[in-house]
């Protein structure tokens, strides 16, 4: 058996692939954050809680209404997105004129409230959510046993990232949106309803989080803290990629997933820290992040 750096090659390939899978979640979550920050200038700390909400909505749909995974994948982001509209309209929209810090505090508070309510309702050990029957089982790739569902996760998030990037960078809606961030009064003068657009952008970012939540439900424990576990790492990903950079968050999401995966082989104890070490280095060398434009 041939070896890489003293480890059997199959193990290494397996770890690379796993890293990519985790990277898919990082990418999807940080994408939503980047969209919201880029367009609204709000650091959305409630993102993890909304990710968790997505998973719980999928669970509720399945258990109370018999709605299957595939429909939930569409429906849960819509429901959570609508919740996002309510949040934006009633609370977040009041903070656009204030310092970033207020948005951060508000969304952080919202996250605590949402998670607290979920904990009260569901307890802390969470609820079961099965893998959809079409995606059960695994493929033998020769070097590792690849669960079909994990392959689907990578595929689905890659497609979702691509769609989001295309909408924002290549369509006229995206162009208007970017223009509105640069100069809202001017865009409004052209007869475009900027506040509504901002609301929908927030809803879109939140829907991405919920989409990731539904993807995560069959493989992670669906519990009220599941978002809190992810959110800090995802923030590091956004900072490394460059605050507000769409492409940056996608590339760094996948890249850091791989780095974290490899750390789990070489020095498992350090795997929760490695992303932050990278963050410190990147901030020292490129304070605006890898893909960010210096202010």
């Amino acid at each position: 058996m041939f070896m890489i750096l003293g480890y059997p090659a199959p193990l290494m390939f397996g770890q690379l692939l796993l890293g990519l899978i985790n990277g898919a979640f990082f990418a999807l979550l940080s994408l939503g954050l980047a969209v919201i920050f880029g367009m609204l200038n709000i650091v959305n700390f409630a993102h993890g809680a909304l990710f968790m909400l997505g998973a719980f909505v999928a669970w509720g749909l399945l258990n109370f209404l018999g709605v299957n995974y595939w429909v939930a994948l569409l429906l849960a982001p819509l429901i959570v997105g609508f919740f996002g509209v309510l949040l934006e309209k009633t609370l977040i929209s009041r903070l656009y004129k204030l310092d970033h810090l207020y948005g951060l505090l508000l969304t952080f508070g919202l996250a605590l409230v949402i998670e607290g309510l979920a904990r009260n309702e569901f307890g802390s050990s969470g609820v079961p959510y099965p893998i959809p029957s079409q995606l059960q089982g695994a493929m033998n790739l020769g070097f590792m046993f690849m669960p079909i569902y994990r392959g689907w996760v990578v595929l689905a998030s890659a497609i979702m990232c691509l769609i989001t990037w295309l909408i924002i960078e290549k369509t006229s809606i995206g162009a208007t949106l970017r223009a509105a961030t640069e100069n809202a009064p001017l865009v409004q003068a052209f007869g475009i309803n900027v506040p509504r657009m901002i609301t929908l952008t927030y809803a879109g970012g939140v829907a991405l989080a919920a989409f990731a939540g539904v993807l995560a439900a069959p493989i992670y424990s669906v519990n009220p803290n599941m978002g809190a576990n992810f959110i800090i790492t995802v923030f590091a990903v956004v900072v490394i990629g460059g605050m507000g950079s769409i492409l940056g968050s996608i590339v760094t999401g996948f890249g850091l997933g791989i780095i974290e995966g490899l750390t789990k082989v070489f020095y498992p104890q350090g795997s929760s820290v490695v992303i932050f070490v990278v963050m410190v280095i990147v901030l020292l060398v490129r304070p605006a992040g890898l893909f960010g434009k210096a202010a």
Partner: protein
């Protein structure tokens, strides 16, 4: 309406004097349930721990003294646990502190109870140090400990042909202790430990990488030295990746199995000292508790709260409530001298080092087809008798035993 200052002071004085007068006539024993109401252990202990304690109080019925139950959240922080305990003892007159689901909190609060000469009953804590190095005359450790789990699950699996092990260990004191204890039993049974991967705690959600390492080691058993959400994620992902090795869940509670579902959990081997569907008495207890927690079945920790408080109240009644309030160490000594008897753990006793001993049961999680419905999860594989289930008295290093 105006209230004169004099009238106000008078009313306040009367209000404080009244309960004092009442107290003088019949003493009130106060039980503080210090548990996790908001964190990872709220399902194994939590609110239902309070219900189970109240259940014991109601069943005992008053025998010439009053009993009050207080419940508080220790937030899994030792300093919070200590602060609440001191406030309870100094201000509210609490006599017994119970539950303490979290090893670190239990060790800290046990010290406070010794200092204030109150009674500490740890039902939710895992660390065997409570009756070892850290033992004291005011503390009783009721339900389980790391030694019991290691011996029952580890020893049984090693005997059943699981002679090579790979551990996935939560990287903190509890995980290390569990891996160490189980390794001891595995090697004693002629087995071998092939590897041990330490996963960051808290904050690890994806265990697939570690599971693949376990798979590559070709060990027959993958030992999970973790708890709560970590264990749930490990088991869920092991199924997903088609890990064919036996999984040894070293600390798995009924509530974890409920959360995972039988599809994922089937075949898992685990140890508990109480299961609601074990025999007629445990079923009867669970039925009685049902009105308080209709959607749940009690875990062994919650059952431990019921059983230990029942025993405490019997002893307090025998020695007189006023006596029991005055001297915690004397009450604990009396509790050790009195055999225990309850629906949850049957007949048992408390050793000199504070260890409550009772049988330990090895269970296997049922297949979905074998289960009759929610909470029908376990089938009994083996029973370790009370005398063998826990660490021998002389090996613990408890100063009270050697003295």
């Amino acid at each position: 309406m105006t209230i004169s200052r004099r009238a106000l002071i008078g009313t306040a004085a009367a209000a404080t004097a009244l309960p004092l007068a009442a107290r003088a006539q019949s003493p009130t024993i106060r039980i503080g349930v210090l548990t996790d109401l908001s964190g990872p252990y709220q399902d194994i202990a939590g609110v239902v721990s309070g219900h189970a304690t109240r259940q014991a109080v109601e069943e005992f019925a008053s025998k010439g003294f009053n009993v009050e139950v207080l419940v508080a959240d220790h937030q899994n922080k030792s300093d919070v646990g200590v602060a609440v305990s001191r406030q309870w003892i100094d201000r509210d007159g609490v006599d017994v502190i119970i539950d303490l689901a979290n090893s670190a909190v239990s060790l800290a609060v046990s010290g406070v109870c010794k200092e204030k000469n109150k009674v500490c009953i740890a039902t939710g804590a895992a660390t065997s140090d409570l009756t070892g190095k850290a033992c004291n005359p005011n503390t009783i450790h009721w339900v389980y400990d790391t030694y019991m789990l290691a011996r029952s699950t580890g020893g049984a699996m090693a005997k059943a042909g699981g002679d090579t092990w790979f551990f996935i260990t939560a990287d903190y004191a509890f995980g290390h202790a569990l891996t160490r204890d189980v390794s001891g039993f595995v090697t004693a049974a002629g087995g071998k430990v092939l590897g041990d991967v330490r996963t960051p705690f808290p904050g690890t959600t994806d265990f697939s990488s570690f599971l693949l390492q376990a798979q590559a080691s070709k060990a027959k058993v993958v030992g999970l030295s973790n708890a709560g959400a970590d264990t749930i994620n490990s088991i869920k992902q092991a199924r997903e990746f088609g890990i064919t090795q036996k999984l040894g869940g070293l600390l798995v509670f009924l509530s974890d199995v409920h959360s995972l579902g039988l599809d994922v959990c089937q075949g898992l081997v685990l140890s508990e000292s109480f299961y609601w569907d074990l025999n007629d008495r445990t079923r009867a207890f669970s039925e009685r508790l049902k009105p308080k927690a209709p959607t749940k079945r009690p875990t062994m920790v919650q059952a431990g709260n019921y059983a230990s408080i029942l025993h405490y109240l019997k002893v307090a009644n025998a020695m007189g409530a006023a006596e029991a309030k005055k001297d915690g160490a004397a009450t604990v000594a009396r509790m050790k001298a009195t055999p225990t008897e309850d629906d949850c753990f049957g007949a048992g006793s408390i050793r000199a080092d504070g260890r409550k001993i009772h049988p330990c049961y090895l269970f296997e999680v049922k297949k979905p087809a074998e289960s009759k419905g929610p909470w029908d999860y376990y089938k009994l594989l083996a029973t370790t008798p009370a005398e063998e289930a826990f660490r021998p008295l002389k090996d613990g290093g408890c100063a009270m035993v050697n003295a």
